[in-house]
Every structure is written in structure tokens, then in C-alpha cells.
């Protein structure tokens, strides 16, 4: 029996259920000053004088900082390649503001109420300027420039792939399908907003920050770079973090600014983001437009694909990923699970006067899956084929793995065909088609949709280095140490924030050492405890962090075997670890508890030869190329043609993330991911008007799904272990979000088509009025 694969209960549940979680906003220090940011009411403006004196006159206000007071600190995220325009991200605006909500000053006061009063009193001389608030406006001739160094507002323009044969292929193809597919701007919306408590430690001569972050080391690097201090002068701790979804995998301007202020004031300073700031002034994602052309043979086989991909990245490049993260991923990975023989892709990042973007869950994969699935369905329609047949015709098939695509990506073994077969079988056997017919008979529109996709996970340095980021992520390091009582401490540079890493890492390590998972404690989220690491995002932690932990645990296991072999007068190769003991294979009587080994190593080193003395500890790094999870989603939707309201009736996920470490946790990730994907498909959108004014600054306007909008999600597991990971596991944090929009849109179009054969929708989110418009347009066409 192994702990890996078992539904070990999550250790963090208990403290959360008791109300004893410790989030950044829960931490208190005597003498704390509370920060509130003065934010721009304009999307574009030139900054004149800032007069803080009325604010400073308010009792309880301790200080006001502008950019100049802090030395104009900024973060610079860089891609070292032509076609990328670097733009600094000022912590507080210098001279110009580039989006509504951009901070220009920060007030520090004895309590947060007073700080908020005081920001109203800071007098700022604004000169509003012309605004570009969308792709069309930003790329129009003569458009206002968001950055002086970026003519045409183009921050990234890269043609990553091209193929001379394409025009010939299009000219000769029996069917050429074109589409413009759009996805709306989204907010990651973790339930805990961003937060930071920064304090100066006089003894350690260090600024200590508690930050609600996914990436403590990158926040540390950001502070070091923004203020020109050595990294060891900064300690970043992530306490309990209330969700991130990518929003917190970049350095926040506010938290970095607070570090600088704490260094100046030598007092604890705290900032807790409110929801309006979170929706308007943090980071967004996913606002993309794909103009695609695909050639198909008469049998539905794809012959060529050309794509122009434009991402509305907002005003700045987030640190350290840069604003290229969306267009680069989109252009590189668009073909997905389909065998595209000839490919051209141009990806652009377009600057607008909107809040900047960060890698929100799935990054560009929800959209690129949406695009490929739309193309498969359109081709099927054009050629009179079954859409699932067209998918099967094109997907990488069993026997073709590892498959290297036209995009240079090598796809490790997956179950693309099997997952679709199984989903279709399950849908049929569970009576979905009959249910669809019954719904239609009641006057509703009803449809079934599928999406087939893989999810590239655990991007290590070999993959990330192709992006040519100045700060290239990928590897992670873990240390495993057995203490004198025989219990185990694991440190990692990954930084779980709800995924249950305390439990899953313990399962992985427990198996290698032959102990119970409750004897393994994970220490994460502390830059002074762990080796430099890249945090938790991109479905990387179990594969990379867990892989490093497994390697380090194997190092300690080898040490334990040697010590046991010495004491038991056996060969290390004959020592087996299990049940908290080290025993000699084949000799039930010869065994010693691990706690006894640990005691001897630490307290009676003289009993051991030199090489076995002084601790049970190992540190290992893992840096894989990446591995692909895959899944097939199916969904049944019902649409009220009168109201345009769309309801989920059934949802099925057949997923394959390789070796499942903890099935309960995997299911939870899938269900939460699907919910966010459904939200992107039907509900959520960050809106701006043409003047760059936010139209979704509250949760009354930004529609996060509740339990009433989501139906039960059935999950079936397939298990194709990865050869590219230590544990055989593949990352799976984003798949739910990646597959859902395409499946939902397929179902919506299936429903529309039954009522109106020419009705079709190629964008998300689909709102009730989009249903009405599609039916109206379909009928006139």
C-alpha cells in the first residue's frame, strides 16, 4: 500500500474550520500603520502637483508617500528578444497615469478608516488625456499611445511559426474555415484579496513581509530590484493565502511599495486590498481575439492553420512574467492535441488604458482550446461530418506518443482518444441525448457540447527558457530533514494556497521514507526557510516541487538504509523502509524503528562511522521539461429562448493527470476549475467604457457563479503516468478552467442550431442578449 493515491484527509482543513487560519489581514503588530492608496479617477492623465498637506493635517495620519518620496521605484519585467518593448511598472505613478485605479500616492494612518478618509484629502492636479480602452481603439491609426516607446501600442509582436506552404494549402483545400473568436476580460477574484504586512526587523536588518502571494521569492526579488537592496535584506512569508488563481503569482505594486515604506519608517505597515481595488486596480487576464483560418481535407483532416492572436494586456507588463505571457503561450500552444501539419501564428500584446494583466488560471489555454474546438465544429458542419469524428480524425492517437508537433512541442503519453470515447459512452449511457430531447419538447433550447484538450503543466526551465524572460522560472528545490524524534520536515519553494500541499507532499515523502504522512510537515512560503523557488502557479507544484521532495526524500532514505545496515550488520541494499521501521529483507526479526535510527544519528554520532554521522538531510532540485495532462469535458445546457438564460443540466469530466496523488484533492481542483471556466463562458466579464472607466467594480456587476449556477460535476479518472515526472503525476490545477468554456460554447451552439441552423456564437462570455442576437441574426441569415 502506498500513501500516494489514497484520499488522505487534508491537514489544513481543521484550522480553517475552527476559524484559526492565519491570513495576512489577521496578523496584528503593535504600532501598525495602515495604508490606503490614492488612485486615479482617470484612465489616462498627466500628473501635476500632489499636495498631501490637507491629508497630513488630519489627526491620525502619519505620512504620505508619492513616487518621488520613494525614489520613483519601478519593476521592470523583460523578455530578451526583438519584438518585445520593455515598459517599467511604477509602484506609484510617475508623471503619467495609464489606467483608472492606478495609485499615485499612499497614506499611512493609525487606523484604516482614517487612512481612507485621508486619501480623499490628498489634492492631485490631474490633466486627463485621450484614452484607448480596447484592441480596436489602441490599434487604430493615430491612436493615443499608452507608452511613448510603443508606437501602435504594440508591446509584443512575434511571428513564432510560419510555413511557406500555407498559402498553397489554403488555395487547394476543399474546405477553408475562418473565424474570429473572442474572450472577455476576467478577474481571478480569490476570495481573499491581496494583502501585505511589512515590518522592519532591526536585529536582522531585514524587512519582513507577510504577503498574500503565490510567489514569495519573486516578491522578494521585486523588492530587491525596486529598491536596490540585496535579496537577503528582504524576507517574504506567505501565511495562509485565500486563493490566488494567478493574481498573486506576480509581484503587486502595493506590496512592494509597502516594503519600501517599512524600510523608511521602520514601523509595521499594513495594506489589505478591498474588493473595488481588486476588481479595478490589480491584474486581469484573458481578453483575447483570435483571427484564424484553417484548411481541411474532405475527410475532416486539418491541413493547415494560420492565426493572428491579439491580447489586450492593459497598461503594463507584470513582474516577472511580462505581458508576453498570453500571446506567447497562445501562439506556441494553439494546435493543442490536434495534428496540424502546417502552421503560422503571430501573437501580439496590445497596451490599453486598463489595469494590467497577469497569468490568470489557464492563461491562454481556455481560449486556444475554444478556438480549436470551434474550428473542429465548423469544419464538421461545412463538410457534413460528425464533430466528434472530425476531432478523432485530427487528435494525436494512441501509438503516436511521444508526438512532436509543428510547434516543436513534444507531447508525452496521454489518453486523448480514450477520454473522448469514454465521455461519449458515459453521456449516452447516462441518457443525456434523451434528456436533451425532453428539454427541447418543453420549448427550451438544449444542447450537448464536448471539448477535448491537453493541459501543458509543470513548465520547467527547459520550456520556460524558450520564452527568453530575463527572470526565467522553472526549477524548484526541496530539502527533507528527519529530526531526532524521527519526524520529517520538508521545505519547498512552491507555495500552496488552498491546494492541500501540506497533505500531498506529505504523502509523497511518507512513501519514500516508510513513515505516516502525519509525521511529515511541510514548510513552505518563507524565503528564509526554503531555497530559491518559483512558487505555485502553472500546475507546477506537485510535479516540480513534489518531484524535488521525492528526490530529497530518497536521499534521506538512502542515509537511513546505510545507518540501519551498519547497526543491523546488513547490506544497505537489503534494508527496507516501511511502517516506521527499517528492516532487513527476508528477516522479520532484524528491524529497528526509524525514530531509533534518528536518535542515534543525532545523539550518539560516535556509534557511527564518519560518513554516516551528523544528520539525516538531503536537498534536491527538479527541473522537468513539462508534461501534458488531458481531459474531455461534456456538458448539457438548457436555454430559455424567451429570457436567453442558460442553465447547466449535466457536466462530465473524463480527466487524466497521470498518477493521482490524492483523488479527493484532484476532484476538488477539477470542480473548482470547471466552475471558473463556466464563469468565463457565461457570467464574468470585467467591463470598461470607451473612456477607460471600469464598469464592474463590485460583485453586483462582476458575476461570480454561486451554487445556483453550477450543477453537480461528475468526474471519471484515467491514469497515464508521465515519464517526465518523478512521481508519474502530471499537473492538473488548471484543466477544469481550460476545458469548460469550449465545452459550454459547443453545447450552446448545439442548442441554438436545433432551433435556428444558422445561429452561431464564437465568443465568451455568452450572455442572455447574445442568445437573442444569435437567434435574430441566424434567422435573417
Amino acid at each position: 500500500m502506498t500513501w500516494v493515491g489514497t484520499p488522505v484527509p487534508r491537514t489544513q482543513d481543521r484550522r480553517m474550520l475552527l476559524g484559526r487560519g492565519k491570513f495576512t489581514g489577521d496578523l496584528a503588530r503593535i504600532g501598525t500603520l495602515h495604508a490606503a492608496f490614492v488612485r486615479s479617477p482617470f484612465a489616462a492623465a498627466t500628473l501635476g502637483a500632489i499636495d498631501a498637506s490637507p491629508a497630513l493635517a488630519l489627526p491620525g495620519v502619519a505620512a504620505v508617500f508619492t513616487a518621488a518620496d520613494l525614489g520613483d521605484p519601478a519593476l521592470l519585467a523583460v523578455l530578451e528578444r526583438p519584438g518585445f518593448v520593455p515598459t517599467p511598472l511604477p509602484l506609484l505613478a510617475v508623471g503619467q497615469v495609464r489606467h483608472a485605479g492606478e495609485a499615485v500616492a499612499v497614506v499611512l494612518a493609525d487606523d484604516p478608516y482614517t487612512a481612507e478618509d485621508a486619501i480623499e484629502l490628498v489634492d492631485v492636479d490631474w490633466s486627463p488625456g485621450p484614452v484607448v480602452a480596447g484592441l480596436d481603439a489602441a490599434t487604430a491609426p493615430g491612436a493615443a499611445q499608452v507608452h511613448q516607446q510603443a508606437p501602435g501600442n504594440c508591446l509584443v509582436d512575434l511571428t513564432l511559426f510560419d510555413d511557406d506552404r500555407l498559402e498553397g494549402i489554403f488555395a487547394a483545400a476543399p474546405a477553408v474555415v475562418t473565424a474570429t473568436v473572442r474572450s472577455g476580460r476576467l478577474a481571478a477574484l480569490p476570495m481573499e484579496g491581496r494583502a501585505c504586512l511589512a515590518e522592519w526587523d532591526e536585529r536582522d536588518q531585514q524587512v519582513v513581509m507577510h504577503v498574500s502571494t503565490q510567489v514569495p521569492h519573486q516578491v522578494r526579488s521585486a523588492v530587491a530590484q525596486a529598491f536596490g537592496v540585496a535579496e537577503q535584506r528582504v524576507r517574504v512569508i506567505a501565511p495562509d493565502v485565500g486563493g490566488g488563481f494567478g493574481l498573486k503569482c506576480v509581484a503587486g505594486r502595493e506590496e512592494v511599495a509597502l516594503a519600501g515604506i517599512a524600510m523608511r519608517l521602520r514601523r509595521p505597515v499594513r495594506w489589505v486590498e478591498d474588493r473595488q481595488e481588486n476588481l479595478t486596480a490589480s491584474f486581469h487576464g484573458h481578453e483575447q481575439r483570435y483571427q484564424v483560418r484553417a484548411a481541411f481535407g474532405p475527410d475532416g483532416r486539418i491541413l493547415g492553420l494560420a492565426a493572428d492572436i491579439d491580447c489586450d494586456v492593459g497598461a503594463y507588463s507584470a513582474f516577472p512574467f511580462t505581458c508576453a505571457v498570453e500571446p506567447l503561450m497562445a501562439a506556441t500552444e494553439l494546435p493543442g492535441i490536434y495534428k496540424v501539419p502546417a502552421y503560422r501564428a503571430r501573437g501580439r500584446a496590445i497596451a490599453t488604458h486598463k489595469a494590467p494583466t497577469a497569468p490568470y488560471r489557464g492563461v491562454s489555454r481556455p481560449q486556444l482550446v475554444l478556438v480549436m474546438e470551434r474550428l473542429m465544429e465548423k469544419a464538421a458542419r461545412r463538410l457534413g461530418l460528425d464533430p466528434l469524428t472530425v476531432r478523432r480524425q485530427n487528435m494525436i492517437s494512441p501509438g503516436e506518443f511521444p508526438y512532436t508537433g509543428c510547434n516543436g512541442i513534444t507531447y508525452d503519453e496521454g489518453s486523448y482518444a480514450e477520454s473522448l470515447d469514454l465521455a461519449e459512452k458515459r453521456v449516452t449511457e447516462s441518457g443525456w441525448p434523451g434528456e436533451r430531447d425532453r428539454l427541447r419538447a418543453t420549448g427550451l433550447l438544449a444542447g450537448i457540447g464536448y471539448s477535448c484538450f491537453s493541459e501543458r503543466t509543470a513548465y520547467g526551465t527547459p520550456t520556460m527558457s524558450q520564452r527568453r524572460m530575463r527572470m526565467t522560472p522553472g526549477y524548484d528545490t526541496a530539502a527533507v530533514r528527519m529530526d531526532p524524534s524521527g519526524e520529517v520536515i520538508v521545505t519547498t519553494g512552491t507555495c500552496g494556497h488552498g491546494q492541500g500541499h501540506e497533505t500531498t507532499f506529505a504523502q509523497i515523502v511518507a512513501d519514500r521514507l516508510g513513515v505516516h504522512p502525519s509525521q511529515v510537515r511541510l514548510r513552505q512560503g518563507d524565503t528564509d526557510l526554503a531555497s530559491y523557488g518559483w512558487g505555485t502557479w502553472g500546475s507546477r507544484s506537485i510535479v516540480i516541487g513534489g518531484g524535488a521532495a521525492r528526490r530529497a526524500a530518497d536521499g534521506v532514505a538512502a542515509q537511513l538504509r546505510q545507518v540501519a545496515a551498519h547497526l543491523l550488520e546488513a547490506s544497505p541494499a537489503d534494508i527496507e523502509l516501511g511502517g516506521g521501521r527499517a528492516g532487513v529483507r527476508g528477516d522479520a526479526g532484524a528491524a529497528v524503528p526509524l525514530s531509533e535510527l534518528a536518535r542515534i544519528v543525532h545523539f550518539q554520532a560516535h556509534r557511527l562511522p564518519e560518513g554516516l554521522r551528523y544528520g539525516l538531510e538531503a536537498r534536491e532540485t527538479f527541473d522537468p521539461p513539462g508534461t501534458f495532462s488531458n481531459a474531455c469535458h461534456a456538458v448539457l445546457v438548457a436555454i430559455d429562448p424567451g429570457t436567453g438564460g442558460i442553465r447547466l443540466r449535466r457536466y462530465l469530466v473524463v480527466e487524466d493527470c497521470g498518477v493521482v496523488i490524492n483523488p479527493v484533492i484532484v476532484d476538488g481542483q477539477v470542480r473548482g476549475g470547471v466552475t471558473q471556466g463556466v464563469a468565463a463562458a457565461l457570467l464574468e466579464q470585467v467591463r470598461y467604457d470607451a473612456d477607460g472607466q471600469p464598469g464592474s467594480a463590485t460583485l453586483m456587476d462582476y458575476l461570480v457563479p454561486t451554487a445556483a449556477e453550477i450543477c453537480p460535476i461528475e468526474i471519471v479518472h484515467l491514469e497515464t503516468p508521465s515519464a517526465f515526472s518523478e512521481t508519474g503525476a502530471k499537473g492538473m490545477g488548471e484543466g477544469g478552467t481550460i476545458g469548460a468554456p469550449a465545452a459550454v460554447l459547443s453545447a450552446v451552439n448545439d442548442a441554438l442550431r436545433d432551433s435556428c441552423p444558422d445561429a452561431e456564437i464564437d465568443h465568451i462570455p455568452v450572455r442572455p442578449w447574445d442568445i437573442h442576437a444569435a437567434l435574430r441574426d441566424g434567422r435573417t441569415a
Binding site: M16, G19, E192, D240, G243, R671
Partner: protein, 167 residues
């Protein structure tokens, strides 16, 4: 000068007397004046429900009430649910059904569910359906779970409590 009031409030059965500014929310008072940091703030405008507590037994958004409005009233927070170190049946069901991931919204859902279950019991509403529970759970937002574990946990607790009390 700040407009402060001296109030007396009972939290989880314990009396507190304190001076509180008139505009201070109940949530901030609980969290920062009295140390009940299990009550979380997710939106501060009454939508997400992370700050849900019971005031005289009924669920209330602690971000939409002023602390002074709790004068003389009985407030229950997540810290009062467990029996010492033993999780309540509802808390245990949340863990068993994977009804939480990051845990930030969890206290609000627990208090919402406790309020609902108590009301149901008072009205002898019988065993609730999955749809009824789903509608109640829809009062609050969770960004991690997709709600399935939360709905199952509340439903299971409702059924168990109903079975226990059934004649």
C-alpha cells in the same frame, strides 16, 4: 473627535464591553477589537458572505452592520462552533466532503449553514432536498470548490440532524 460608543455584546457566550466608533463595522470590531479573526472579509459590500455571523441566531453580513448595532445582542462566530477541540458535525462534514480548499470563505458558509439548519429545525421543516440546500448555499461565494462539497456537507449534516431528532 471620533464618535465612540460604549457597548456590551455577547460573542460565543462571552460578554465583552468596549468602546467602538460609530462607523466601525461589526466585522472590523469582531476581528480587530475582539480578536475573532475567523470572521473574514471578502468584499465589504454584502455579496460574498465570507463575513457571515449569527446575530441573535440569524445569519447576518458582519460587513453590513455597525459594531454599535450589536449592542446588547448575541453574536456567534466560527470560533464558537467546535466543542473545545472537537469539530462540530457540520465542520467535520465540510472536511469529509472536501467542502473547502483555501478556507477563506469557509467560516461564512459554516455560519450561514448553522443559521439555516437552526431555522429549519425551529420550523420543523423536515429533511431538505439537495436543491433547497443549493439555494441556501447560493447566498455566499466560494472561488475554489465549485460548491459541490459544500452542498453535500450541509445536506449530510441536515439529514443527520433530522434523523437524530426524528421521533
Amino acid at each position: 473627535m471620533k464618535d465612540t460608543h460604549l457597548i456590551r455584546v455577547r460573542v460565543n457566550g462571552r460578554e465583552h464591553e468596549l468602546a467602538v466608533e460609530s462607523r466601525r463595522t461589526l466585522a472590523d470590531m469582531l476581528r480587530h477589537d475582539l480578536g475573532y479573526t475567523g470572521t473574514h472579509l471578502g468584499c465589504e459590500h454584502g455579496i460574498c458572505g465570507a463575513c457571515t455571523v449569527l446575530v441573535d441566531g440569524a445569519p447576518a453580513r458582519a460587513c453590513l452592520m455597525f459594531g454599535v448595532q450589536a449592542d446588547g445582542r448575541d453574536v456567534a462566530t466560527v470560533e464558537g462552533l467546535a466543542d473545545g477541540e472537537d469539530l462540530s458535525d457540520l465542520q467535520q462534514a465540510f472536511s469529509d466532503r472536501h467542502g473547502l480548499q483555501c478556507g477563506f470563505c469557509t467560516p461564512g458558509f459554516l455560519m450561514l449553514a448553522e443559521g439555516y439548519l437552526a431555522e429549519r429545525r425551529a420550523q420543523d421543516g423536515g429533511e431538505p432536498s439537495e436543491q433547497q440546500i443549493r439555494d441556501v448555499v447560493a447566498a455566499n461565494l466560494c472561488r475554489c470548490t465549485g460548491y459541490q462539497g459544500i452542498v453535500e456537507a450541509v445536506l449530510e449534516t441536515a439529514r443527520r440532524r433530522h434523523a437524530r431528532e426524528a421521533p
